[in-house]
Amino acid sequence: MGDLWNALIFDPMLNSLIILYTFLGNNFGLTIIVFTLIVNIIMLPLRLKQIRSTKKLAVLGPRLQAIQKKYANDSQRRGQETMRIYKEEGISPLGCLGPLVIQMPIWISLYWCIYALIPTFPENFASLTSHMYDSLEFLDTAIPLNSTFLGLDLGQPVALFALFVGGSMWVLQKMSMMESTDPRQQQTQKMMLWMMPFMFGFLCLQFPSGLSMYWMTSNLVGIAVQYFVAGWGGLIPSADTNNSVPVKPSKINEEDISSEEEDLDEKQYKNKRQDSRRRNRNSSNRARRKQR
């Protein structure tokens, strides 16, 4: 397992970082920033998908609520119906977890890469040579890496970076937070809003600041993407409506949330939808005929 991890993730990442370091004028701080940007660019489609899914889910809420109420006693059916709506609207329920899941092996690998590249102990430096590709001879002169960036040693924890990581994470969490009136949800959101930045900030006090730099850059990219796609969100609620990019209108009509429809059984609901579609088709056909 260890060999597989090294061969597929750790060694390629480590060698890529050294190559980047060589091309970026032997500046490891810049290497981490550029590496983070590359990782974020690769994951941009996923991140965009995540933000759009969240927005779509917000619009879908009334329709899902109808299902929640209707099948309150039949969890299996409720699940099936919910999934059907997700499918219809092209939403992946795990879409917003994608970037988190994909980033985890990157974090873990980067953590070990930084330890290997900025040797905390001589053993790390010795083992570094065994992970470098023998075929890339130009890497030989790159080691040991200069770990100083803006007067800071990226191999050691720096308290200032911990503050930046915690702060930027709080802003990102706040921006992507959804409006809630449920006290339980509010409590969970509040806990997440403070716990995550605090936890990451605390971890930054233990980890090499090179890793903090990755988190910090990643958060800043996240903030920028979140702003351009969904505005300031929960950070500046009043600005949200002004800045946010309009989301593609959903197929759901106001009538979907009417109390009348909530009481309909599945057959009636389907019939009603079919009628509505038929009416729409007929009206558009009439419009085409008129045009001719």
């Binding site: 879908l60 009334p62 899902l64 102990f121 002169t141 007067g151 040693d153 809630s180 997440m192 006090l205």
Partner: protein, 461 residues
């Protein structure tokens, strides 16, 4: 968004939140495990110092910085390890009264630097990774003196648990990795922050310290020199030290002075790192480099006489190990296990070259091999050890054929278990080699051409 709509959305997102929370907790746990598994990452415990021979005894270093005098006659030759009461021992805790042991605890007690013994002063000089250097009386290993290579180490020892909360760049104390050499009452060493210093073996006071300029009694906080990982070489009244910035520095051994700017006697063209110490050979120095080359340098002026590899013929790997010189033959080994033998003429030109690839059983060439220590010679047999697998290769120096390969099996004693791997150069004595196992819990011995390995537990319980 109306209040009623918000409520509706919340219900739907409940399941999403649950999933997200579970993942977040998993992430937290994995990060905690990630850091927790490696909780010792900010303290060094083991080090890679080699055992040394002092009179009839082997001086061994164990984990947590213990120093033992082991009686070689009592070492078991075969079978499981045995525990043995050492003839004498020194624990870093013994330095409580005279040294700042609080700092020592924080920085870790590892000994990377192979100690040196001064027979004239009956003193063993031991350097810790934390930068503490102690002089121990032989044979009882009582503390004679202690000193720090970094004057700011003690200042940094205060501050307690919250010291890491200091904002901005902090002073990282200097560490000692390179071996110590004794010469004429002086213990000479190069540090990882680029200081070269000489300590009086009698008093423990710093005689001189070079960081670009010479100072006495104390080292200045910053140095313009590169990090040093190996022993100083003393030759004709001068001390030579190789550095990770690709330089060999040269200073007067008695007062640390030099006429060369920044004491840079030699530097590789591409500034590729020099890890091991230079070897002297009639008017020349031989130095191996991480750039896969071996430089033959004129001892008079530091100019390059020749390189043993060129663009048409490259070494198969990087050189961390130094070179062993015997009868005008140069032996060295790459990190991925190719052993080289060179014969050079009196002018330094290469006459012959031979090489052999060392392999682990059942594996491809270079796979899972990391050789960082120089070959040693027992009779006419070269011994090479692997810091990962613990393989011991015996290669005939004349025929250059691998004659025997012995695998170091994990050694056990009670709850102590060694990892495989021999982290440092073995000590050669007669037809026997002595070495530390990984984590330095055991001192082991092996006779030439025999497979049996005997180990002694040196862990203090």
């Amino acid at each position: 968004m109306t209040r009623s709509q918000s409520n509706l959305i919340n219900l739907d997102f409940q399941s999403m939140f649950k999933k997200k929370n579970i993942l977040t907790y998993m992430m937290i746990i994995s990060i905690v495990i990630l850091s927790g598994c490696d909780s010792d990452r900010f303290t060094a415990d083991y080090g890679w110092a080699s055992p040394i021979l002092v009179e009839e005894s082997v001086i061994s270093m164990s984990e947590k910085g213990m120093v033992f005098v082991a009686d070689t006659n009592l070492l078991p030759v075969t079978g499981e390890s045995e525990n043995q009461r050492p003839a004498a021992k020194f624990s870093p805790e013994d330095s409580h009264q005279n040294c700042d042991s609080d700092y020592l605890d924080k920085a870790g007690d590892a000994i990377y630097s192979t100690p040196a013994y001064s027979a004239n002063n009956s003193t063993l000089v031991v350097g810790y990774y934390s930068g503490l250097v102690v002089g121990l009386r032989y044979p009882d290993l009582s503390l004679k003196w202690c000193n720090f290579i970094d004057p700011l180490s003690k200042a940094n020892s205060s501050g307690g648990f919250f010291s890491f909360l200091s904002f901005g760049p902090r002073h990282q104390p200097d560490t000692l990795i390179g071996n110590i050499t004794v010469h004429d009452g002086l213990a000479i060493m190069g540090t990882s922050k680029g200081f070269i210093l000489a300590i009086s073996i009698d008093t423990g006071n710093i005689k001189w310290c070079y960081n670009g300029e010479v100072t006495t009694a104390i080292c200045q906080p910053e140095s313009v020199l590169g990090s040093m990982y190996d022993s100083p070489l003393v030759d004709a009244g001068k001390v030579y030290l190789s550095s990770l910035d690709g330089s060999i520095y040269s200073l007067d051994v008695y007062d640390g002075t030099t006429k060369i700017p920044n004491a840079t006697f030699f530097q590789t063209a591409n500034k590729s790192a020099l890890i091991s110490k230079p070897s002297a050979l009639s008017g020349m120095f031989i130095i191996t480099s991480l750039d896969r080359n071996i430089y033959v340098i004129n001892k008079k002026d530091g100019s390059i006489i020749t390189t043993l590899f060129d663009d048409t013929e490259k070494a198969s790997g990087r050189f961390w190990a130094g070179s062993l010189i015997n009868d005008n033959q140069i032996y060295t080994v790459t990190t991925n296990g190719r052993l080289y033998k060179f014969e050079i003429d009196t002018s330094g030109r290469k006459k012959n070259m031979a090489s052999v690839q060392l392999k682990n059983r059942g594996q491809k060439a270079g796979e899972d091999i990391l050789i960082t220590s120089s070959p040693i010679l027992l009779d006419d047999t070269l011994i090479i050890v692997d810091s990962i697998s613990g393989n011991i290769w015996e290669v005939s120096s004349s025929s250059f054929q691998s004659s025997n390969t012995v695998e170091l099996s994990p050694v056990k004693h009670g709850s102590d278990e060694s990892w495989q791997g021999i982290p440092s150069e073995p000590l050669a004595m007669d037809r026997t080699m002595y070495f530390h196992s990984s984590e330095k819990k055991f001192l082991c011995k092996k006779d030439l051409h025999k497979d049996a390995i005997g180990c002694l537990s040196v862990t203090e319980k």
